[in-house]
């Protein structure tokens, strides 16, 4: 199968400008800036059915089209390189191994929307990805690929790298904007959406690293080609991060319509120790889990939604038959309780209570009424909060209780996990 972004992962030193240029790097952006109209780029991206690959899966070109162009204010491009969704590590590969591809995608996006200033918000723990990105930005500036009069086309784009400081919630787009403005990352109530009122009160395009990295391919080979790689309304491919109890964890770039079964068994080598599969997280920790008999689902956004879960960040976490679902859920809810920013009561209190009750159950002190209490708290966790963290926590949480209820009941009764 043809690889697009991940082809560069196998090329030595593809992070350097010289190797990227040998691979025809920046050719697409050069040509587009000379020959294409901004609106043509936008409509190509829209027609390609490229979906946002950061988590929400929104049509990328459509999002760009919401940005008002003549408010008299600057428009900003913000790149989401916060990569905090557990089970997800693909943006790190792009930043480390082919940062110029992201920069080229950013140039195309900026040109399409009329943007002259971009910020890349990269998670604070990433050191090597940051260094590689910084080298790339400096090299691109030195060549005149960034800054004033890019490629002699008259188009300007300044790029600033901004390092985060450790907070999952700053991956949520409005939490990110607050953080980028030097505040704590409290998500904002929407509307207004960032496209209208974003960074420093100005119209703003926010896209994920991987989303932007597909743009050069779309402009080079056409929207029709890209759209056809995927399924209806779900264009192209994506980088699946596969981890957990598989033989070959790693990043796999596959068409959006591939089945989860193929990802696990054909690409990731199947389950370690040839144990049986028990459950899979299909799209980052916020997604509902799937049971072993549900893995023939297609991994595009719409099919996963129809299956009651979500494509999310493309993080696939595989669990074998020996894993306790009570423990898996405890770890999951510990994460959300730790990362809730605390602005909304259902999220702050809900994740906190769930975390405490699950801890009690794990320590052998579960009570018969715990399950009903948990379901009750879970019912009010999402739907009414400022951001989607609570919705994701709710989706994941309820899926474990519904799909493995008897295991939870047995654990509470016996005070421990006794698997077959």
């Amino acid at each position: 199968m043809e690889k697009l972004i991940s082809r560069f992962f196998e090329i030595q030193k593809a992070n350097t400008l010289s190797v990227y240029l040998e691979e025809d790097g920046y050719e697409v952006a050069k040509r587009a800036l000379r020959e294409m109209k901004p609106e043509d780029i936008e409509s190509e991206v829209k027609r390609s059915n490229l979906r946002g690959l950061g988590g929400a899966g929104f049509n990328c070109g459509m999002k760009w089209s919401f940005v008002p162009r003549n408010t008299g204010k600057p428009i900003y491009l913000v790149v989401n390189a916060d990569e905090g969704e557990p089970g997800t590590f693909k943006d790190k590969y792009i930043l480390e191994k082919v940062p110029h591809l992201l920069l080229e995608g950013m140039i195309l996006a900026a040109f399409a929307v009329g943007i002259h200033k971009a910020y890349i918000y990269i998670r604070g723990e990433y050191e090597l990805p940051f260094l590689r990105l910084q080298e790339a930005v400096e090299a691109a500036y030195a060549k005149g690929f960034l800054g004033k009069n890019i490629f002699g086309s008259g188009f300007d784009l300044e790029v600033v790298i901004h390092r985060g400081a450790g907070a999952y919630i700053c991956g949520e787009e409005t939490g990110l904007l607050e953080s980028l403005e030097g505040k704590k990352g409290f998500p904002r109530l929407k509307p207004p959406f960032p496209a209208i009122v974003g960074l420093f009160g100005c119209p703003t395009v926010i896209n994920n690293v991987e989303t932007l990295s597909y743009i050069p391919f779309i402009i080079k080979r056409g929207s029709e080609w890209f759209a056809k790689l995927g399924t209806e309304r779900n264009g192209g491919m994506r980088l699946f991060s596969v981890s957990g109890q598989v033989k070959k964890p790693g990043v796999y770039e596959l068409p959006l319509g591939i089945s989860l079964r193929e990802i696990i068994y054909t690409h990731a080598g199947g389950i370690r120790g040839d144990l049986k599969l028990k459950a899979v997280v299909p799209g980052g920790l916020s997604a509902a889990i799937l049971k072993a008999d549900e893995i023939d689902v297609k991994m595009d956004f719409d099919s996963l939604k129809a299956a009651g879960t979500m494509g999310g960040s493309g993080g696939v976490v595989v669990m074998d038959e020996a894993m306790s679902m009570v423990e898996a859920l405890r770890v999951t809810m510990q994460f959300f309780a730790h990362e809730s920013c605390g602005q909304c009561s259902p999220c702050r209190e809900g994740t906190g209570w769930i975390d405490r009750i699950l801890n009690r159950i794990i320590n052998g002190k579960g009570r018969p009424q715990d399950l009903d209490n948990l379901l009750d708290i879970g019912a009010y966790l999402g739907g009414t909060t400022i951001c989607a963290l609570a919705d994701g926590a709710q989706m994941a949480f309820l899926s474990y209780l519904r799909k493995f209820r008897s295991e939870f009941e047995e654990f509470i009764r016996k005070g421990s996990y006794a698997h077959a």
């Binding site: 557990p86 450790g166 999952y168 981890s243 964890p249 770890v331």
Partner: protein, 164 residues
């Protein structure tokens, strides 16, 4: 106040960082990182100077200190081990590794050894689940970890880079 933390050199670098933004306050996180990397931590005194530099209330700086996990009031040990505890790492034995480190170092998660050599923390997913179970040791991502590899890291005292 007589500035002790913002030396002329640091002030110059902070001004350069601030120039990247239309609003100075936006430089708060990068400037705080600069201060922490220079002094190993952000002391109470540093917080006050940061507040003064940005002309914001000291309480705002305190808020940033507590909201973001990467800012510390006290320096960490020379070898700072942060073990990931989230699902992919948990599935492959992160809890055992954390217990092992607590026993070997005779400290609990969140503490530093009395000689200031080691600090142990547990953190949420570091975006490296393909090398689970993993830890960040100072600036490096290391994994997949085993008890033997941890022994190696402890005995090297993590003077420089090692490959695991």
């Amino acid at each position: 106040m007589n500035p002790m933390i913002f030396t002329p050199e640091l002030k110059k670098r902070a001004d350069q960082i601030s120039a990247n933004y239309p609003v100075q306050r936006a430089a708060a996180l990068p400037v705080m990182r600069l201060i922490q990397e220079t002094y190993g931590a952000i002391s109470g005194e540093a917080e006050l100077e940061i507040a003064e530099y940005f002309q914001i209330p000291p309480a705002d700086v305190r808020e940033l200190m507590t909201f973001y996990t990467l800012f510390y009031s006290k320096p960490k040990g020379k070898c700072h081990i942060q073990v990931c505890r989230t699902l992919s790492c948990n599935l492959l034995g992160a809890q055992k590794l954390i217990k092992y480190l607590e026993e070997k170092l005779k400290i609990k998660v969140g503490e530093t050894t009395s000689d200031g050599q080691f600090s142990l923390d547990q953190v949420e997913c570091l975006g490296a689940c393909e090398i689970a179970p993993m830890a960040q040791v100072n600036k490096d991502y290391l994994g997949p970890l085993t008890k033997e590899k941890l022994d190696q890291i402890l005995s090297l005292n993590y003077a420089g880079k090692i490959q695991v």
